[in-house]
């Protein structure tokens, strides 16, 4: 008797129960028949070497000094990752196709557009958003200058303007108001606060603080 029990336990542990296996296989087959043909076609070749359509892919990225271990769909943009998944909603979605600059962030220190960047391509990179610009409760000098010069009305483009402005000074392209206007042209402000934005950047630049 005891020998029979031992045998049955061994079977359960080492070999998958045929009924469970059947259920798994039939469920998977049913799922595949419901998928669009293009996905099935893609799935049967080289799936193991791709970050697949049918699964999420791992992504390690540093955002505002914090390390994130994430799982993303290949089509997720950095903008959607920040706003929808991580609830860092300071970065704004304006046009969502590279024409307005509202989603400007820094990746590895360079200002770029989050709406045109795929999250999956940022493996190992450092991202800074408007939330990561200041330290503690202290406003960043650029944020302070925007407040002082009234560099906004509705405020929707402001996070992108500020991220772009900081980079503009760091790049060395804020040496005159004309140069500031040219190098801030990727950030549109529909309220038309341009003169005040230019004044704010000019003041921070002339203040000479290291940003």
């Amino acid at each position: 008797m005891s020998r029979d029990i031992t045998k049955s336990e061994a079977q359960n542990a080492g070999v998958e129960h045929p009924r469970r296996k059947f259920l798994k296989q039939s469920t998977a087959l049913a799922a595949i028949t419901l998928l669009p043909q293009t996905l099935v076609k893609a799935a049967d070749k080289d799936l193991d070497q791709f970050a697949g359509k049918l699964e999420q892919a791992p992504l390690q990225v540093e955002i505002n000094g914090k390390q994130y271990d994430l799982s993303v769909e290949p089509r997720t943009t950095v903008l959607d990752l920040l706003r929808e998944d991580l609830h860092l909603t300071g970065t704004k979605k304006g046009c969502d196709w590279g024409q307005c600059g509202a989603c400007t962030i820094h990746i590895n220190g360079k200002r770029v557009l989050a709406c045109m960047s795929l999250a999956i391509m940022q493996q190992g990179k450092k991202i800074t958003t408007i939330e990561g610009l200041s330290t503690g409760d202290q406003l960043h000098p650029m944020q302070q200058a925007f407040v002082q010069h009234d560099g906004f009305q509705c405020g929707y483009c402001t996070p992108g303007q500020i991220m772009s402005a900081v980079a503009c000074i760091r790049e060395g392209h804020a040496n005159s108001k004309d140069e500031i206007r040219e190098y801030m042209s990727g950030n549109i402000c529909r309220c038309g606060a341009y003169n005040n934005i230019t004044d704010a950047i000019d003041e921070v630049k002339k203040g000479g603080k290291s940003l």
């Binding site: 080289d46 359509k53 089509r75 200002r111 557009l113 045109m116 960047s117 391509m121 042209s185 990727g186």
Partner: protein, 328 residues
């Protein structure tokens, strides 16, 4: 955006092998055009092969003294590079006239060449467009076509290539280094992009799986008298209505050699060979510049809303040549 598989290429060979395998795979570098084409359903690759991390971003002198720019060098890095600013300032100027600082920080040299037209009918998937959907017709032909071509167009397509960088590169006689699954080849920049003819869907001569690895610019004497003008609807961050790249090799007030090309006027960066030939050995003065512009405009044709370009383009050529000649 329709989802896709993504894989980072291990090296150039791996990248080319992966994309050569099937027509539904594409390279992605900066993504500044491809991502928006995918969002709008104009491009729907099943597999994207990441090449932005490949070591193709050097800007260097070759043994023969030419300047070689890796295909993954960012537009901003090329524009700011000391070697480019001193030897190829026309290229630097054209790059800085394009897009915005954020986009130049993402866009690569190879990607800039591969960007597609910004024709609004190409982007609107509810409209006919031979470039997007071959055989469906051209909605721009009788549509709102003020941004469209005045040179080299066909009944099939009147779209223009949107790049500024490419206008400078074609003027400077660059060549394109291409690597493929079977062989490597070099193509003269002037032959890289093509005219629409009856196959508007093909922007250039690359075959599926071929990858641009670098562009090479020969040693030249065009770094003193040069200018890039871009006429557009606002003073920055807009595509060209008309742009002109001009470079002169001068001896006193005489033109030893001239280079002229235009953007925003054709399906490819448009080199003005006949006008260059005319200027060779002539005095750098307004009358000759006007004559060169008239020669350049000889085969121009408008399609209605872009008729203004027939007057704007020669004026832009004269102005740009004047600025280039008087640059000290």
């Amino acid at each position: 955006m329709i989802n896709f598989n993504y894989k980072k290429a291990a090296n150039v060979k791996d990248a080319v092998a992966l994309v050569s395998k099937d027509n539904s795979s594409m390279f992605i570098a900066g993504g500044t055009n491809l991502v928006d084409l995918m969002k709008r359903g104009i491009s729907s690759p099943q597999n994207l092969i990441g090449i932005d991390q490949l070591p193709l971003n050097n800007i260097e002198r070759t043994a023969s003294g030419n300047i070689r720019i890796g295909a993954m060098a960012l537009n901003s890095d090329v524009a700011e590079n000391e070697l480019i600013r001193s030897q190829l300032p026309l290229l630097s100027m054209a790059l800085n006239a394009g897009a915005s600082p954020q986009i130049r920080n993402m866009a690569t040299t190879g990607g800039n060449m591969m960007q597609r037209t910004r024709c609004s009918y190409f982007y609107d998937i509810s409209m006919p467009c031979n470039k997007r959907n071959p055989g469906s017709g051209c909605a721009a032909m009788n549509g709102y076509n003020r941004m469209h071509a005045i040179f080299g167009a066909s009944d099939n397509c009147i779209a223009v290539h949107p790049s500024d960088m490419c206008v400078a590169l074609v003027a400077l006689d660059a060549s394109v280094h291409i690597t493929g699954n079977k062989k490597d080849r070099n193509v003269a920049f002037k032959d890289f992009h093509r005219l629409p003819g009856n196959t508007a869907q093909k922007d250039n001569v690359l075959e599926n799986g071929e990858l641009i690895t670098a562009v090479e610019i020969p040693v030249n004497r065009f770094n003193k008298h040069y200018h890039y003008s871009k006429v557009r609807d606002r003073s920055s961050f807009a595509f060209a209505l008309v742009s002109v790249a001009a470079a002169l090799d001068m001896d006193g007030n005489n033109i030893k050699n001239a280079r002229l090309a235009m953007g925003g006027v054709a399906h490819k960066p448009w080199r003005l060979f006949a006008a260059e030939e005319f200027l060779k050995g002539k005095k750098a003065d307004e009358a000759n510049f006007k004559q060169a512009a008239a020669i350049a405009m000889k085969d121009a044709k408008s399609y209605g809303h872009n008729e203004f370009k027939l007057r704007m383009a020669p004026q832009a050529i004269v102005n740009t040549l004047n600025i280039a000649a008087n640059k000290s």
